[in-house]
């Protein structure tokens, strides 16, 4: 079985940028040539991709799939299908399931469910500590053998500096990155939105920027101490970006991600008590939003992830301070990231770097468009305009702040292992 993708603008940062034809054979890239150089065989399926952009499969390094334990919000299958619909060929799923993914059995279960889904791939992240309770190291080596690509106590900061040090040292031995949920819970003080004038006016308890940046600074120091690969999740503040910029200048091995909502919205955009705008870290100020964009432009922020956090309406249709944190993002990330390109903040090549290449590097895989590599590919239609309608989402949940937003650009097709796992209608 062969697939010939004809006439797409192919972008593989640092390697390819131009109109090419791509031949996929037996699930792998076979040839990437100038237009009309590849002669299709009789059974070759030809896809006219003129006007589309072909890029290495997009990878979302921060996703919550909720299975096992909270299948009413999302299953591995529904989450991976939503990912494919958003143009992602792979996602890294967080371990805060029930039970927590802190052992090889749960890891194997996730991988097996992912295989059955026939959608995007799944790269599980294991827990740093047993039960993510922050007390004792989980069996990271065992989980690595079962298939985890990273570790994190996602959603729960590792408050013990000593445990974090040992985790970093251990993960360095295992050559596995630590994904840091940077939050000082004590300083966050059970707040429910960004600390600032809007929270004061709404009477909601605020979460200060420092609750994030103090932990970023601590873990930069620990990365320097241990030499471990440390990746900061969902960066939202100007102070964090500054700290990471300086750390990188010093050669400390840190990377970081932000999510589309942090470069698209601020706390001033929150309609009164609309819980679809409640996430952790919270939407910050315009100064922070600008700092995030600056960090994306100058390369301080390596990648864009979604922090896709599905919740049932029961957990959102309540008082704001009692509502669950988190929004979904798999099916809106690409158009929101394309807004950065449309506004001239980053180039298309940089977008591919941040949504495909850097995530692949973090996960320790190679998604270059070269012969012999698994054919994980995203075809982007950059001109398709639409209004975000949560009712059309494939995810089981609907908790998005972007409902009704006019956007431009989407995934036209998503290929995993050469199989078309999504095609836009």
């Amino acid at each position: 079985m062969q697939i010939l993708i004809k006439g797409a603008q192919v972008i593989d940062p640092g390697r390819i940028d131009g109109v090419k034809d791509i031949l996929i054979k037996d699930g792998k890239f076979a040839q990437i040539e100038e237009p009309d150089q590849i002669k299709p065989e009789s059974d070759t399926q030809v896809i006219d991709a003129e006007g589309l952009i072909a890029v290495p499969g997009l990878i979302d390094v921060h996703v919550h799939l909720r299975e096992p334990g909270h299948e009413y919000k999302e299953t591995i299958e529904s989450g991976l299908k939503a990912a494919a619909a958003g143009g992602f060929t792979a996602v890294c799923c967080m371990p805060n399931t029930k039970p927590v993914n802190d052992n090889a059995q749960v890891t194997s279960f996730i991988i097996e469910q992912g295989r059955k889904a026939c959608a995007a791939r799944v790269y599980p992240a294991g827990a740093i500590s047993v039960g993510s309770s922050g007390t004792a190291l989980a069996e990271i080596g065992d989980m690595k053998q079962a298939g985890i690509k990273a570790v994190t106590d996602d959603g729960l900061p590792v408050s013990s500096s000593q445990l974090m040090r040992r985790a970093m040292e251990y993960c360095k031995t295992m050559d596995i990155p630590i994904l840091v949920h940077a939050e000082d819970k004590d300083l966050a003080n059970n707040g429910s939105m960004n600390e600032g004038p809007k929270a004061t006016a709404l009477g909601l308890r605020g979460i200060p920027n420092a609750s994030e940046s103090v932990m970023v600074c601590r873990d930069i120091a620990m990365a320097e101490l241990t030499g471990a690969r440390v990746h900061f999740c969902h960066m939202s503040t100007a102070q964090s970006i500054d700290a990471i910029r300086q750390a990188k200048r010093k050669g400390i091995p840190v990377t970081c991600e932000t999510a589309p909502h942090y470069f698209t919205l601020t706390d001033e955009d929150i309609p009164p008590y609309d819980t679809n705008f409640k996430m952790n870290p919270p939407l910050r100020s315009e100064i922070d939003r600008q700092a995030i964009i600056e960090g994306l432009k100058d390369g301080t922020i390596d990648m864009i992830a979604t922090d896709h956090a599905p919740h049932n309406i029961d957990e959102k249709d309540v008082e704001f301070d009692r509502a669950a944190f988190g929004i979904i993002g798999l099916e809106t990330a690409l158009p929101l990231a394309l807004e950065l390109v449309g506004r001239g903040h980053i180039t298309m090549e940089e977008l591919v770097e941040k949504m495909a290449k850097a995530p692949a590097e973090l996960m320790g895989i190679n998604n270059d468009l070269v012969s012999g590599n698994p054919a994980d590919l995203t075809l982007i239609d950059p001109d398709y305009e639409f209004i975000v309608d949560p009712d059309t989402f494939i995810s089981k949940s609907r908790n998005t702040p972007f409902a009704g937003r006019q956007v431009k650009g989407r995934a036209a097709m998503t290929f995993g292992n050469g199989i078309r796992v999504y095609e836009a209608k």
Binding site: G196, P197, T200, Y273, F320
Partner: protein, 312 residues
Amino acid sequence: MRFTKKDILDIQSLSKDEISMILDTAVGMKEISERPVKKVPTLRGKTIVMFFQEPSTRTKLSFELAAKRLSADTVSISKSTSSIVKGETLIDTAKNLEAMRPDVIVMRHSSSGAAYQVSKRVGCSVINAGDGTHAHPSQALLDMMSIREAKGKLEGLKVSIIGDISHSRVARSDIIGLTRMGARVSICAPDTMIPVGIENLGCRVEKTMESCVTDADVVMMLRIQKERMGNLLFPTEREYAGLYGLNNRRLGLAKDNVLVMHPGPMNRGVEISSEVADSGCSMILDQVTNGVALRMALFYLVAGGSRHADTD
């Protein structure tokens, strides 16, 4: 002018004219409470639900008396008697209440925005009787009523508010309301009790109690919540009283005919000394009296009283 608001959720959403109309209506209502028979038939046949999800004595009693003096039927549910203890959501409880066809729901809740969220889901009027640290509009309106009654105006007055602004819905509503009516509001407290960006509501933040109180026409003290002392807001009551307590010496810095206010309940000897609380300049009990009249006005205006008045 006709009052068209369905709900009273906060002061922010009331225009200057609407605030004036409420205060004027309350003045008319006050006389009813002075009569030997303290009851008029204005809201006969109307049903008012008191939905209090947080402990309250004076506010709940004040709303109940106000409703009864207008001949409305009232029913009360509290947290311990509501289905919320059985796990029902706030929205479902509110929808069930509405299904019994009340005309007004008076709501107090510990979460900011709860009254706003309920008002979006029910057709009847909702009056916010305090939601988290967001708003307490009837308290701010009765404060404005009391000041206007004593001073004859609100415009141009200097009002000083001292105490835990961070956790005070009363302070937020008072700052917004008083500044909207032309008063100048200064606030003072240690920084642990000053929320970020409070000056955006239109007030001035003073560094010392003395500078805040100087030349004030009104000094409003807020309750120090003793239960928060373990919460790092201030070291001891003793130190707080020394730095931020209102006594005769500090009150001497204010204008000669200064008014002293407190939304209650007071901690005597902490935020306010007894000599001040019980002095001739204290408006604290007048506030309570005016509270009933002001709440009668709110019921009258949202429950259709103004429409009847026009057609009768």
